[in-house]
Symmetry: C2
Subunit: 327 residues, 2 copies
DNA sequence: CTGAAAGCGCTTACAG
DNA sequence: CTGAAAGCGCTTACAG
């Protein structure tokens, strides 16, 4: 609670000029008498001096921080992106997180983060804002919005293909896809990957979109509709994890045995997948690396350069209890 | 990507002094000729002027932002605290979130947030740091560490009592408590509430601590031990939600039917509770209000005042499928 | 080896 | 009604 100790206070206490204190304290390579240096450091310690980051930022025209905007903290997918971003930022500065979703209105976070408080902005999952209004370099993460050419995404098509391959490898031939909301481009790419994989294998392409958002409730509803349609399915690929959990509920409600009657694979892995019963087989995507790469790109690229990158780190199918050989 | 437009640019374009621009743009009650005002506003618009929050903060000695430090984004409990805090802060400024846990080392976030970047710091779930080093007003949220007299918590004892009451109301007499890690004071209070409730009802006090942290794995392990001990239980209260999910897994593995053979109640409610099968009966605590109240207290109280508050908002048992009448 | 001065982009008395 | 000036707490050429 000490607070308010400035360079001037330390300088006065040590009997030197503030400029010298500044140099010494930042460990700058400056020729000072060892005695003077010691005095300065000692006084800074005694007074509990802590540099004012705000003043430093103003002078340097550099905030030393990055912003990361997340739609919601309820989706475990984002937790992994955050971890990657924070790790990558460790040397460059800090990461300030904000939600674009609940709790306050659309533009509030924009005001908060677009006034020099951060050196760059990572926007995860889109957020319906007008990017042209941003005065800070930004980068879309895991979402490529039309007209915005600064984004980094994952290989969503490949994830779907891996899911189909896994099921096909177990002998499944009637496989459906429960896709994300039409607005999300990740869901468009995952659907496209699914269709490709089916075409390659000569399988019928059966797809059911999730109404509304990428949620458990949406997944449950989509699964219900598939069951009603009675398509003779033996496998389902669900485009995201919470929705897959919802699908599992619908199956449980309908008395359908997983994986005996139907195998389920979800895209994206998280602890949740291992917690539900039956535990979910998933395609693990490199979310941590996505977060880390996003910080790297933001920190090193020119603010006006276009960035279109697909993070091509290894992905893998995590086999759990929701998939098995076709009956 | 415009960037770098300052008050001076607008002033030049409008042919006035920067001080006038500052006054007009902040909507200050200043007597300006309507024509001049219009010219200033027009130029600000044309140049896409955005105030530099850093410079403003330095001048005002006020950051206009609060920091919220969270141990992990993997626990849904914190998501609710965040929503409450953001809503309450909406008029006061923004909320900057940071993790104290994974991704970087212990003190990194401290440097990031303790240099004038925020006007106050909310620290959720403790974080093993030395509070005396903080130069910014802080408040512990949901954790009362010995020796720190600035905290706001929930009524953890009452939550346990409500859980026991619910089970007792269903006829249960042999009830165990799976508690949190010894280090967490929330777990101490919940255990104490459990013991009290049992004493009041003349029930035996059976408690099993969760090894390690408040996690699903810990809950599973604790449940396993309880099963091994073969105590003739009919009900279990689990001190936190992820651990309860773990406990459910242990029961499933052991072939114990929930709620037919054993009823389970978890403290804390979140979507996850409705997603697992069987869905979990929980005690819903006012986490959103906790977050909101924390911001309020931080914003309005003197930095040196001691704060010891228990948020006494309504709590309720959310009955789902994991509890039923004793066999 | 150390100091004096300018300036980062604002806000706010104080003048006119 | 509008402007000139000081100052928030730093950093960094430029001097000595």
């Amino acid at each position: 609670m000490a607070g308010r100790v400035t360079l001037a206070d330390v300088a006065r206490a040590a009997g030197v000029d503030i400029s010298l204190v500044s140099r010494v304290l930042r460990g700058e390579d400056v020729k000072v008498r060892e005695e003077t240096r010691a005095r300065i450091i000692e006084q800074a310690r005694v007074l509990e001096y802590r540099p004012n980051a705000i003043a430093r930022s103003l002078k340097n025209a550099k905030a030393g921080a990055f912003g990361l905007v997340i739609p919601t903290f309820n989706n475990p997918v984002y937790a992994q992106i955050i971890i990657g971003a924070e790790a990558a930022a460790a040397r460059l500065g800090s990461v300030m997180l904000t939600t674009s979703g609940e709790g306050w209105d659309r533009t509030n976070w924009l005001e908060a983060l677009d006034g020099g408080r951060v050196d760059g902005l990572l926007i995860a999952g889109g957020s319906g804002i007008d990017h042209s209004r941003l005065s800070v370099p930004y980068l879309m993460v895991n979402r490529a919005v039309p007209g915005v050419d600064r984004y980094v995404v994952l290989d969503d098509e490949k994830a779907s293909r891996m899911a189909v391959d896994h099921l096909a490898g177990l002998g499944h031939r009637r496989i459906a896809f429960i896709g994300g909301p039409a607005g999300a481009d990740t869901s468009v790419r995952r659907l496209s990957g699914f269709e490709q994989a089916c075409r390659d294998r000569g399988l019928e392409q059966i797809a059911e979109p999730i109404p509304g958002e990428y949620t458990a409730v949406g997944g449950r509803e989509a699964m219900r509709r598939l069951l009603e349609a009675d398509l003779g399915l033996s496998g389902v690929v669900v485009a995201n994890l919470p929705s897959a959990v919802g699908a599992l509920q619908a199956l449980d409600d309908a008395g359908v045995q997983v994986p005996e009657d139907l195998s389920v694979v979800a895209i994206h892995d998280a602890e949740l997948a291992g917690l539900v019963r039956p535990s979910l087989t998933t395609v693990q995507m490199p979310l941590t690396q996505l977060g880390a790469r996003a910080i790297e790109l933001l920190a090193t690229s020119s603010p006006s350069a276009s960035i279109n990158e697909v993070v091509a780190k290894p992905m893998q199918v995590v086999v759990r209890d929701s998939t098995g050989p076709v009956a």
